[in-house]
């Protein structure tokens, strides 16, 4: 099975990073979350109800819908906060935050469980610094429009109805879904990020080059 990979790119001002990332990540997770499964006898199960909530952005002329789950929101905010801290407050720079949906595959001892991604969303962020309030106002509107386009892109991909993991049995539900939340059940996901410095190279490639150069001596 090939992992489906989708890339999105946005240019935002420093203070808009949080909201832009939350808007896109929550839009994706809205589509990749179900209600809690309740298994019954004979292998049947029922599904809980997913509520939704409108969120207005403060620094962007944009509103988005997220799943009504404070736990999920906290988890996403934490990841976005770490990403923003790594980007550096108010500095020009580029970074990429990735939302990866995966399945766990049980392995025999001594091997650990394998995580097999089936969908990866990569959001490239380009942070710009603006000189005056007028530019910021224009940026508010422009970024709002751009985020709207990205939401449409996300919806378009989701509605292609490509691969989705099979609905699991009760014993395997933790291999497909994140069952740790009380109110909703997103597919297993993880958020990672990568920061690129202003020179355009990523930190990891710089380190790799340093080590190679050292070994070459």
């Amino acid at each position: 099975m090939n992992c489906r990979s989708e890339a999105l790119e946005v240019s935002v001002e420093g203070r808009q990073v949080d909201e832009a990332m939350l808007a896109l990540l929550h839009t994706i997770l809205l589509h990749r979350s179900t209600g809690k499964f309740h298994y019954k006898k004979e292998g049947t199960y029922s599904i809980g109800t997913v509520g939704t909530q409108d969120i207005d952005c403060d620094f962007i002329d944009f509103s988005f819908v997220r799943v009504s789950s404070d736990e999920l929101d906290r988890a996403i905010r934490k990841a976005v906060g770490e990403f923003k801290d790594a980007m550096g407050n108010g500095m020009d720079g580029m970074g990429q935050i990735s939302l990866e949906f995966y399945q766990k595959k049980k392995s025999r001892w001594p091997f650990s469980d394998e995580c097999i991604p089936w969908e990866v969303w990569s959001i490239k962020v380009n942070v710009v610094n603006l000189a005056n309030e007028q530019e910021r106002q224009i940026c508010r509107e422009k970024v709002g429009e751009k985020l709207g386009e990205k939401v449409i892109n996300i919806v378009e991909v989701i509605n292609r109805h490509e691969y989705l993991p099979k609905m699991p049995t009760q014993s395997e539900v933790d291999n497909v879904f994140d069952t740790s939340l009380k109110d909703v059940q997103p597919y297993l996901y993880k958020i990672t990020f990568q920061i690129t410095d202003t020179l355009g190279s990523s930190v990891s490639t710089t380190m790799r080059r340093l080590i190679k150069d050292t070994l070459a001596l």
Partner: protein, 527 residues
């Protein structure tokens, strides 16, 4: 095509399509009500949340949807459309977008109805929730209020896009393949809002406090055969909505995990006492105004022939929100993309209500609306004449006017030379609109209070409710609406002659020269 489907699958599919259509309309209309929507996630299924999504049902919207469907289902060449339009306070209207639920002939015979189709419809509704916040009409709807309101119209049949103007854009929300055809949900939205920029704010700003209620529209059209009311929130007294079937059905979805082909979908009939989903009440909870002659301003000429229904939010009492601007709504600079208005302070996040209260509220709103001359879903405005009207000896009442803002049409006594706001009063006997009830008794040089010149009808500011506190803020606002005149503008000051001023001048100069060191030190601190 249909012969491949088992009778149970066919029945389930029809039911899914029907409820999908109803929920689609709910999502679209609720996204255009002008406020944020919030519903709660529930870990345990309630049995009444179709597609496992907490989408509240506004009864009036369900009623209109069913009226439009008239017992049919969206199908091939039978599209269901929701048209969103904007109507200004002057009666101009403009279509903003049209949402289309269509079906084409492309069938997916292998798809599982009770599992895959159901889940994909759920996914499509989530996509609809996301997309409804992205189109330009969303921002307009969030700012609706005094200057314009958003209307919706549901129709069935051929899609009409001519009203969207040139260059309209289309966005496809998604598709769901079924054994009888592929369901497509899309939106066509207007991009040219030039009408708004040229006409919206050319008129003078309305006097504070005036709201015209000519948006009230009567629902006309045939109340035809009512489609069976399958989904009904328990507790509502929906006498008007009784369908053909008396029993109530709830959606209970049970899925089987082994193997995927063996899907068990049960739809059982249950009695009325189904636990209601605990949803937050996303409605504005305003007091319903008592309006006599509210229908006087209903202008049939401005109504859309197909009776668009105004976006309003059923409130708790009578289901009619009252929008009272807090401050004068000045004409703002219009933009092509975004219309700015000075919204009243009524975009207050609604308080979550208990689940039981929701049912009572909606039943109350239905009950009141059925008896009122106004439309089922409407925004009713109180009409007041503001504090600055100066028509001595004339009372402006709501019943005496035929046109909106008629009191402010150019007339002899409204001309500038007669306007005391422009020409200051020449004598103390002339009453000034600025003098209000708080004018001090001591300075009795002015004329009588100006309260006789205008009529205030039932001032109920949106920001203050009198059910909890004795309207402190409202009382304060009313009392200080007409502040007393500044003492420097009183007659006492002006009665001083210039000669006396000149005589006092040398003394003042002497005092200033004496204290010149202090003044110099003060100037130094400023530098």
């Amino acid at each position: 095509m249909d012969s491949d489907l088992s009778p149970q699958d066919k029945k389930d599919l029809d039911k899914f399509i029907k409820f999908f259509a109803l929920k689609t309309v709910q999502v679209i209309v609720q996204a255009r009500l002008g406020e944020k929507v919030c519903t709660r996630s529930l870990s345990s299924p309630t049995g009444s949340d179709w597609f496992n999504l907490a989408i509240k049902d506004i009864p009036e919207v369900t009623h209109e949807s069913k009226k439009a469907l008239a017992g049919q289902l969206p199908g091939i060449e039978r599209s269901m459309c929701v048209e969103i339009s904007l109507k200004t306070s002057e009666g101009d209207s403009m279509e903003l977008e049209t949402w289309c639920l269509e079906m084409n002939e492309k069938c997916d015979r292998d798809i599982k109805v009770s599992y895959t189709v159901y889940n994909r419809m759920s996914l499509l509704l989530k996509s609809l929730l996301a997309i409804t916040r992205v189109t330009p009409a969303y921002k307009l709807s969030r700012k609706q209020g005094h200057d314009y309101v958003i209307l919706y119209r549901i129709y069935f049949g051929e899609v009409q896009l001519t009203g969207l103007g040139e260059g309209f854009q289309t966005v496809r929300v998604g598709v769901v393949g079924t054994p009888i055809g592929t369901i497509t949900l899309s939106c066509a939205y207007r991009t040219n809002l030039a009408f708004m920029s040229t006409r919206q704010f050319e008129r003078t700003a309305p006097i504070m406090g005036i709201i015209i209620d000519h948006f009230v529209e009567r629902p006309f059209g045939n109340v035809g055969h009512m489609h069976p009311c399958i989904y009904r929130a328990p507790g509502e007294d929906e006498g008007a909505y009784n369908g053909v079937e008396d029993s109530q059905e709830v959606c209970t979805t049970s899925f089987s995990t082994s193997p995927p082909s063996q899907c068990v979908f049960t739809v059982r009939k249950a009695h009325l006492k189904t636990p209601k989903p605990a949803l937050y009440c996303s409605r504005l909870s305003y007091q319903s105004p008592v309006l006599d002659g509210a229908a006087d301003f209903c202008h049939p000429s401005t109504l859309n022939a197909a009776n668009p229904h105004q976006m309003g939010v059923p409130g708790k009492e009578g289901g009619v929100p009252q929008q009272v601007p807090v401050q004068p709504c000045h004409g703002a600079q219009a933009e092509h993309r975004r219309v700015s208005s000075c919204p009243p302070a009524d975009h207050v996040p609604a308080t979550p209500s208990s689940s039981g209260e929701d049912a009572e509220t909606s039943s109350r709103s239905v009950g009141v609306k059925s008896g009122s001359p106004c439309g089922l879903l409407e925004t009713t405005f109180t009409r007041k004449v503001g504090a600055f009207v100066n028509k001595p000896g004339t009372k402006v009442t709501t019943a005496s006017l035929d046109l909106p803002f008629a009191a402010f049409a150019p007339r002899a006594y409204d001309l500038e030379e007669n306007d005391p706001m422009v020409q200051p009063p020449e004598s103390s006997a002339t009453s000034s609109p600025l003098q209000g009830s708080l004018h001090s008794q001591g300075s009795g040089e002015s004329g009588g209070p100006a309260q006789d010149d205008f009529v205030m009808v039932d001032f109920k500011p949106a920001f203050s409710k009198d059910d909890l506190l004795p309207m402190d803020l409202g009382t304060f606002y009313r009392e200080f609406q007409n502040p007393p005149q500044l003492t420097s503008l009183t007659i006492d000051v002006s009665s001083q002659s210039m000669a006396e001023d000149l005589d006092a001048l040398p003394e003042k100069l002497a005092v200033y020269e004496k204290n010149i060191d202090e003044f110099d030190a003060f100037v130094d601190t400023l530098q």
